[in-house]
Amino acid sequence: MSMVFDLQWILYTGAIGLIAIGLVGIIWSRHLFRIILSLAIAEAGANLMLVIAGYRLHGHAPIMVAGVWPEQMVDPVPQAMVLTAIVIGVGIQALALSLAIRVKEAYHSLDIDEIRAAMQADIDAQAGVTGDLSQEEPSGREVIGPTVAAEEGRS
């Protein structure tokens, strides 16, 4: 019994560890490329978690072979879900990287904070709210907006 529990425990440590490391990477890194990599790590953790959800001790793969009965097989449903999730993950990763390539061309930086500052300046300039107020008084969103609050919330 203790062996069984240990295996379960090891597996969950792996899955949750990946999720945690990935989330730390996303929040902590300022480099876009690193953030995108961390996202993939966190997703891998969630996938592992799903596969563990369908694991049955001493089970067999869910493929009909002579001598193996359905009662001995592991759960096929989480496996199908993970197949879906893996492919979705790689699609989103490629999408994020394409965006990063263009963002770098636009702002000559891959630092998320620098990009955000440049983007805010861009948005303000486009909306025509720069110049008059931004110098002496920070605009409203910088002070009270959910941006600040949310970062407190998620950290």
Binding site: M3, D6, L7, I10, L11, T13, G14, G17, L18, I21, G22, V24, G25, W28, S29, R30, H31, F33, R34, L37, S38, A40, I41, A44, N47, L48, V51, I52, G54, Y55, G59, H60, A61, P62, I63, M73, V74, Q79, V82, L83, I86, V87, V90, Q93, A94, L97, S98, A100, I101, K104, S109, L110, D111
Partner: protein, 92 residues
């Protein structure tokens, strides 16, 4: 089984930590594919051969290829000169 699993999990988590902490981007991509490979073997141990195949093909193969291509387009492939961002990240 339990020892192999434990070893794989340790390797996987170390590689994942390496992804965050390596300053070199190419090495980080390599570490990410190590995570995928370890994960893929874990899936195999968990009797999920379909998932293992997909993880190996997509996670370790295709995804690394995409990341490598993106690295080239982002101009991050040079291993010697760390960019300004890297410097800052190191200094924190």
């Amino acid at each position: 089984m339990i020892w192999i699993t434990g070893l794989l999990v340790v390797v996987m988590l170390l590689a994942a930590l390496a992804v965050i902490f390596f300053n070199n981007h190419v090495a980080a991509v390599a570490a990410a594919s190590v995570v995928s490979l370890a994960l893929s073997v874990l899936f195999l141990l968990l009797k999920a051969p379909d998932v293992a195949m997909t993880e190996a093909a997509v996670g370790a193969g295709l995804s690394s290829l995409i990341l490598a291509l993106a690295l080239r387009r982002l101009g991050l492939t040079q291993t010697g000169a760390a960019s300004a961002t890297d410097e800052r990240e190191k200094n924190r």
